[in-house]
Amino acid sequence: MNTQVPGAQSSWQFRTPKQTLLRWLGWFWLVALTVFCWQVMNENTIWAFVIDAPDQAADIGDRMFPPAWSYINNLWEPLWDTINIATLGTLLGILIAVPVAFLAATNTTPSTRFVRPLALFIIVASRSINSLIWALLLVAIIGPGLLAGIVAIGLRSIGFIAKLLYEAIEEIDDKQVEAVRATGASGAQVIDYAVVPQILPAFWGISVFRWDINIRESTILGLVGAGGLGIQLNASLSTLAWNQVAMIFIVILGTVVLSEWVSAKVREAVL
């Protein structure tokens, strides 16, 4: 019974030869691209520094330990500033993001042809530029200080909050909107009584989530002069006071962990 169907392969293959070839070519291009990028990137790399790195790391680690515990007394005020930058920045972001979200959602926008693209552009522009870059610009424009940090955090938050919020608005239950409209409600009343109650939990969840991210980001905004813990970090780095740097890292880590916990608790309660 050793009959074989003509044309059939002797052993089972997962893919056809053509698929195999295409995949092989794809992988080849990926490897070639990576090697090429690696070459271009490292044209100016000084390998002596790279070889030296473990020694440097050991040296820095040595200087970081023990952290300057008493330095924490200089950090309470920057910490308060950092939290304020994140909170007020988030509020500013929310204030601008909510109208933008309503203009961007297909079911609430006044005009899909003119207003919606504009709102989407605002969202994209805000999202593509990191808050540190916004802070860099704003420190140059309105001077160093908390205000630049707050505005930077606010501008970055617009895109994030508006994007998630308009997606939530587009997913609402249309029947409720229709029911409210059937009572003779005006446009604003429809939004107030039919749309807002449906998106309110999502809105609080998104806002707290963004606040959590903003706490993280506001810890480093001071590096470019926008207030908060980053200013102390910059000062300690430029004087090579690594034990103070270690203390600042500990404070940052503690703040981030705490804000993450708060945000998780609030989202749990809301959603």
Partner: protein
């Protein structure tokens, strides 16, 4: 006559009940606390309005620079920064994926024994808890200025992101397929290769492309602390008050982010 007071007891106006914070006392306490915090916070924000007013003129120049960007006069700097950013993004994403796949498998509870699981989860936690910029500061101090430190930063950050999501994806795998392959007498490697990998591959490709997008954005930031890339160019342009060049850099960043985002969402749809 007995019906009149009854009718009066019905309210004629309806007040909408609150959606969240339904407990009346807690509602008041939380709102009041929020208000007190706001007043305190706003009081500590010192604003030098004189400086802000002076800055408005600069702000206007920046808006003009953004609207009429200058790509030509600093093109060599912009090109060098852009090449560094793009090459850094590609190499760090590839290196990050190569390292995070084994760590992701190790951090999946259904494939790895407990000690390996804990070690891998530990690596993920360390990588996730620090910001890219802070890692970049440390790595620049160790490896010197330039894109190599940036490459290491982004690769390190990629590990935390990708391993965590990959591990969760593996843990969500369909158990029956794993059992079926195991029932054929397959070894651990064969189970990973034939039962787990086909299930997680589309998601892994999607996540990798998403991370490519994030790495490009971050590469624009870590240049500010000396880790190479277009961020350094931007920083220099702003330091020199050349807002038209800075506008050009920002427009290039936005354009590349858009292109990467749209093409990656296209590829993801094609893969899944």
């Amino acid at each position: 006559m007995a019906e009149a007071p009854m009718a009066q007891s019905y309210p004629t106006r309806w007040k909408r009940p609150p959606v969240l914070l339904t407990h009346p006392v807690w509602r008041k306490i939380i709102l009041l606390g929020g208000l007190v915090y706001l007043v305190l916070a706003i009081q500590t924000v010192e604003v030098d309005w004189q400086r802000v007013y002076l800055g408005l003129e600069r702000g206007w120049r920046f808006v003009q620079g953004f609207l009429v960007p200058d790509f030509t006069s600093r093109w060599n700097d912009i090109y060098a920064g852009l090449m560094e950013s793009l090459t850094m993004t590609v190499t760090s994403t590839v290196a990050g994926i190569l390292i995070s796949v084994p760590i992701g498998i190790g951090a999946a509870r259904n494939l790895a024994p407990a000690p390996v699981y804990l070690a891998c989860r530990g690596i993920i936690t360390v990588s996730r808890s620090f910001q890219e910029v802070i890692i970049a500061i440390l790595l620049v101090a160790m490896f010197g200025f330039g894109p190599f430190a940036g490459f290491l930063t982004l690769a390190f950050a990629t590990i935390g992101f990708l391993s965590k999501l990959l591990a969760e994806e593996i843990e969500d795998c369909d158990r029956s397929q794993i059992e079926a392959i195991r029932a054929t007498g397959a070894s651990w490697w064969q189970v990973v290769n034939y039962a787990v990998q086909p299930q997680v591959m589309p998601r892994l490709v999607g996540l990798s492309l998403y991370r490519l997008d994030i790495n490009f954005r971050e590469s624009a930031v870590i240049g500010i602390v000396g880790a190479g890339g277009i961020g350094a160019t931007l920083n220099t342009a702003i330091d020199r008050y050349e807002y038209d060049s800075a506008g050009a850099v920002l427009i290039i960043i936005i354009a590349i982010v858009l292109v990467v985002e749209y093409s990656s969402s296209y590829i993801r749809r094609w893969v899944q």
